[in-house]
């Protein structure tokens, strides 16, 4: 029944968004990009895509960091168009999507404050999608206690801070633990919100968020090997949703090395296929071809889930999925640019193809 009234608020934006999706690079265009020899060739090839207008004013020896920044600008402009034209149910959904970026920005500011840097410079480094009105107010805080009080009052993330952290924690805990705790609260809140949105959105977003939670669970586990993070603390960082909640999470909380992780994951059919042939010790962008790393497999699975959300119409999941696919595309383009600029053309095929 959702179809009969979705288009009142969402019809125009969904049409625009599907237009954005049609602008994602195809396999053919990726082929052209991989055959470029210099950054100027790359710029020429990208001139016909959605990134063209943003790249054309860059001076000729373009670095990959500039490329990455300009591509992100393109993404931000498209997303902000959606935000500016959205009405109430969609605008809240889009706000929820930006909270993830806000968490990253706030962590950046906290780190800056802890190391006594001038946080006004850090404002430029913050991700534009995660910019909220009272963020400059956070820069005024000179101690972490003040920062905590300001955040508790002024930012949309107040609820996530209230749930899990106190002011002392901000000083003592490792910054990564804070980031993961906040992100866990955010994922759970987002998942609860999507449930209230009714059927197609709830199903599609449920799938995507569950996969995100599983991925974070596995990454937290793997990254905690060899650090002094205790197992109870590790278990507290796992988000309480996903296919691995609760049984696999209790098992993963107790493992000590990669083989045990693999043994736990093999019990789940979707992850068993992902683990086949994976070189668990390789980091992202390994030797190419069949010897992919676990992270690459996760990216591929994420791309697949996000592509599937476009199969249905009249739901909000497409907004989230497009954003993730666009980010993946920017990662791919930057990878290709890095390979070209460092003259390592043999690794240029290691991007995760989307279409």
């Amino acid at each position: 029944m959702n179809e009969i009234y979705f288009n009142v608020d969402g019809g125009f934006l969904e049409g625009i968004l599907r237009g954005y999706r049609d602008g994602l690079l195809t396999t053919h265009q990726y082929m052209n990009l991989t055959q470029c020899d210099t950054m100027d060739d790359l710029k020429l090839q990208l001139a016909t895509t959605d990134y063209g207008p943003f790249l054309q004013n860059e001076p000729s020896p373009m670095s990959t960091s500039t490329l990455s920044a300009r591509c992100t600008d393109a993404l931000v402009q498209e997303f902000q168009y959606l935000q500016q034209n959205s009405a109430e149910p969609i605008s809240k959904f889009l706000d929820y999507i930006t909270y993830g970026y806000m968490i990253d920005n706030v962590i950046l500011l906290i780190t800056g404050t802890l190391h006594e840097r001038d946080t006004h410079d850090l404002l430029d480094k913050c991700h534009p999608l995660g910019f909220f009105d009272t963020m400059p107010a956070l820069c005024v805080a000179t101690t972490v206690q003040e920062l905590y009080n300001t955040v508790m009052v002024d930012s949309p993330l107040a609820g996530y801070f209230r749930e899990c952290l106190s002011a002392e924690d901000l000083n003592e805990l490792n910054i990564e633990i804070i980031r993961n705790t906040l992100y866990k609260a955010y994922l759970e809140d987002f998942s609860r919100y999507c449930e209230t949105l009714g059927d197609p959105t709830a199903t599609v977003m449920g799938e995507v968020l569950k996969f995100e939670a599983d991925r974070r669970t596995v990454n937290i586990t793997i990254n905690s090997f060899g650090t002094e993070l205790s197992k109870e603390e590790r278990a507290k960082l796992y988000p309480r949703l996903g296919n691995m909640y609760p049984e696999a999470q209790t098992k993963l909380a107790r493992v000590d090395d990669m083989d045990q992780v693999k043994a736990v994951l093999e019990q789940y059919s979707e992850y068993r296929m992902m683990l086949a042939g994976v070189n668990l010790n390789a980091s992202s962008g390994g030797a190419g071809g069949n010897d992919l790393s676990l992270e690459d497999r996760f990216f591929a699975r994420e791309v697949q889930l996000n592509k599937e959300s476009f199969e249905q119409q009249f739901h909000y999941g497409v907004f989230y999925s497009w954003l993730r696919l666009k980010e993946q595309e920017i990662r791919n383009v930057v990878w290709i640019a890095e390979c070209i600029s460092q003259q390592q053309k043999d690794k240029v095929g290691n991007y995760t193809a989307i279409y």
């Binding site: 288009n7 009142v8 625009i16 599907r18």
Partner: protein, 211 residues
Amino acid sequence: MSYGGSGYAGYARYALNATVVFLAIWAGLYLLLTGRGERFNFGGYLLRISPYMWSVYGIALCIGLSVVGAAWGIFITGSSILGGAVRTPRIATKNLISIIFCEVVAIYGVIMAIVFSAKVSAVTSSKGFAPSDYYTGFSLFWGGIAVGVSNLICGVAVGITGSNAAVADAHDQQLFVKILVIEIFGSIIGLFGLIVGLLVTGKAEDFVGAV
């Protein structure tokens, strides 16, 4: 049972329902047990309603519901065409066909309303209505509902399919004709309503009075 404000709203609603049901049962049993059961005469009530009311209600529902269906379909399709045409302007012209299919539904409603209203004429007899008048009244009412509701659903169906067609056309040009076939099947539903409306009111005669 849901509780509102102070917590007693749920109880109040339940009490109201129970009182109404109690009064209805009391009235019914009173009529039944005191030999006045014949007074509850639903058929007589229906006959006392003027056939004019039935027939013009039917005409109003026919045109009203058809137009609601057409408008609903047009806004569903139109917003998707607007969004998709920002990037792919070529879809704007071709997808007007979907809007036309929705509009056709409203035209069915207008035609049937005109056909029905031709049967409504003044009755000059002082003895009331003839039996054929009652048939005309009832058939125009239910014929009008048949046409109106089927056009309502047809308009919504064509609208949703038209929105899918616009989005698919923006992505891949060859999909448009294939989804158009589905739309054509959807718009046949409105035609069914039109045919049934005509059949039902086909035997209805113009209003004459009792002789």
